[in-house]
Symmetry: C2
Subunit: 389 residues, 2 copies
């Protein structure tokens, strides 16, 4: 496999962007990444797009061709493809694009992730999200993501003594990080009290245990390592990528308190990168709910199983803690335009490894990790990045 | 790039399969392909699924994890991914899976394509299909696929003197081929008169100028060439693959009577295969409407631009004509479960190159080609296959 590096990154602000369409967002992120990479449109060999449900959110499938078209690339007739695997779609697009370059088919690929979620009402959006769970055995009976993740949280409390304060500590940390990110949807700190006193969404998850619905896009430019230094002095290498699946329905899984897909994807990525969890200083992990980040840091091996809550409350995962988790603010505070998530995570890690993360810079970050989930954990994708020094 | 071969194929019957769900269809096709390849489930490294709109047809996204799960593979935690680019999604899944093996990441990948279209009404299905055109400039104003392709047909008549009999000849030929295919949705011949006297769908396209809505699935097993002969004596090599995009909206394109994406994708695939159109004996091309096949055989270089209609009427593309086009019956007669199309085309070409196509066998077929479109031609994918003798 040929080595692949990221040579450019870009993202839109995340939020309720009423005045911007899906195509506007995709183009903005893409152009920022291209400018950051200092490439011209003639250098691009292909476009990969991660998107979960544009068909349902905006009645538009075929969004990869759409984005290339509206970016002014139509008369180059580039190969374009959309990749989907629930909420992991952005990370999957990055995964496939990496393999395409590794194969020798392309040298330079733009990978975008985008979702426009606020053109539909909140209830409809919840139903659309539930379309990535098992429709015949979960969604059709009214199961929502909040309800399914609430069961994981309750079981984690039962098995490991996790308390609501532990869950809340995730939200408090990520809002604090988000306050340092000018593109985040929520750029204000919140207190433990705010989280604990918020109304229930699905007990034991309150309003501030849940990531928002968002509009936004992110993009990265991938380049064969052998050509990367002709564009940048600081290419960020993709050291390892791992992907894994699991039973689609939560009730079919081995455990409610461990995501085997995360464990497998993490192990595969770390093996390929020849690294251990302790070698990672900064990680962007899936935190659509507070419990999800706790499961992720346990299943990725950053902390012992069952200790994710206390570790978070103790600051182990705080900015410049033992491992800085979600310095961008994560899905919770940066926002959750689903298709953009996996790509936005890579954008953040690249900025951290370049030392360009401003007030939220993780000091001495050498290796960064991204982790994204589809559904309630039926897909997990992990990428590991490092400076190509 | 490592060479990649197809070592197993399978498909369900295509049709209005009321008694079978999406997951049933996906599993049936996958298991048939696995059995044909004589591999065990432990041999599989990854699963790629082509699907256009399960989110809208059956309220289920995340279908790659779903299919792996219901196929009994969940506890192997395989990488699974869904690929989409309108109607080209099956061919795109094959494209990405080929690159993944070529990169060295995987050795054996199952590629499936599936669509379950008949759980919604015909009008809703037409709206869902129109979601692969440009939503903001076409679909929202009521443009349907039949209407958009009718404009191409009308313009082709104007520019090249194509007549309704020329269009009808495509339907007559493909129904004749379909009558020889036990998995086809329509296994009966039709006459020129039947086509010409059918009610209009969108003038000049009548009922028999349009492919049906269908349920169905197809699957192939891809294998690194270096391992293929340990499973089969007749691996079918992927000699070349080309993919191209174009403006999403029909009115933005250079021409209504030539699809530049097809021309580009075809040229790229032929160049990679080091072949010319004359070297191809059998082709499965996109014929969602009769005009589409005429455009395809012209843009792929099988016949001169403008001569597609007369060539079809003259039998140039008939079974064992100069080039046998759509021996399976094509989308018109085999059926059109959209996500399955690109994979089913590969299944047919593999059977033809193996000499296992029964009554519809193309004599002496050495090289076969598949061609699939997304939207009204904003995505085109071409694969070229040959026996690895």
């Amino acid at each position: 496999m040929r080595d692949v590096a990221i040579i450019g990154v870009g993202e839109t602000p995340f939020g309720e962007l009423w005045e911007r369409s899906f195509r506007d967002l995709g183009i903005e992120a893409g152009l920022k990444a291209i400018q950051d990479a200092k490439i011209g449109s003639d250098d691009i060999d292909a476009v990969y797009i991660g998107n979960m449900s544009a068909g349902k959110f905006i009645d538009q499938e075929h969004v990869a061709a759409l984005v290339a078209d509206y970016a002014g690339l139509a008369d180059r007739h580039l190969p374009t493809v959309r990749v989907e695997g629930g909420g992991a779609c952005g990370a999957l697009a990055l995964f496939q694009a990496r393999l395409a370059i590794a194969s020798g088919m392309y040298d330079i690929v733009v990978v975008g992730g985008a979702e426009k979620m606020t053109d539909v009402g909140d209830v409809q959006a919840a139903e659309i999200l539930a379309g990535t769970a098992d429709q015949e055995w979960e969604s059709v009976f009214g199961a929502t993501f909040a309800g399914l993740y609430a069961m994981m949280a309750r079981r984690h409390m039962h098995e490991y003594g996790t308390r609501r304060e532990h869950l809340a500590a995730v939200a408090v940390k990520n809002h604090k990080n988000g306050s340092l990110n000018p593109n985040a949807q929520f750029q204000r700190e919140i207190t433990m009290e705010t989280v604990l006193q918020a109304p229930w969404v699905a007990e034991p998850l309150g309003l501030f245990d849940c990531a928002p619905l968002s509009d936004g896009a992110a993009a990265v430019v991938l380049c064969a390592m052998e050509r990367a230094r002709s564009f940048t002095d600081a290419p960020i290498r993709i050291l390892g990528s791992g992907q894994a699946s699991d039973f689609l329905a939560l009730h079919d899984r081995r455990s409610l308190t461990a995501m085997d897909a995360t464990t497998e994807a993490g192990a595969r990525a770390l093996k390929q990168a020849k690294l251990a969890p302790k070698d990672v200083q900064v990680a962007e992990v899936h935190d659509n709910f507070t419990i999800t980040e706790i499961l992720a840091i346990e299943d990725l091996g950053f902390v012992e199983k069952g200790k994710g809550g206390p570790a978070t409350l103790d600051g182990v995962t705080a900015l410049n803690g033992k491992v800085s988790v979600n310095p961008s603010g994560g899905l919770k505070a940066r926002g959750q335009p689903v298709g953009a998530t996996g790509v936005a995570q890579a954008v953040e890690i690249v900025r951290q490894l370049r030392g360009e993360a401003g007030k939220r810079q993780v000091v001495g970050a050498k290796h960064g990790l991204t982790h994204t989930l589809g559904g309630t954990g039926a897909t997990a994708v992990v990428h590991i990045f490092g400076r190509a020094d």
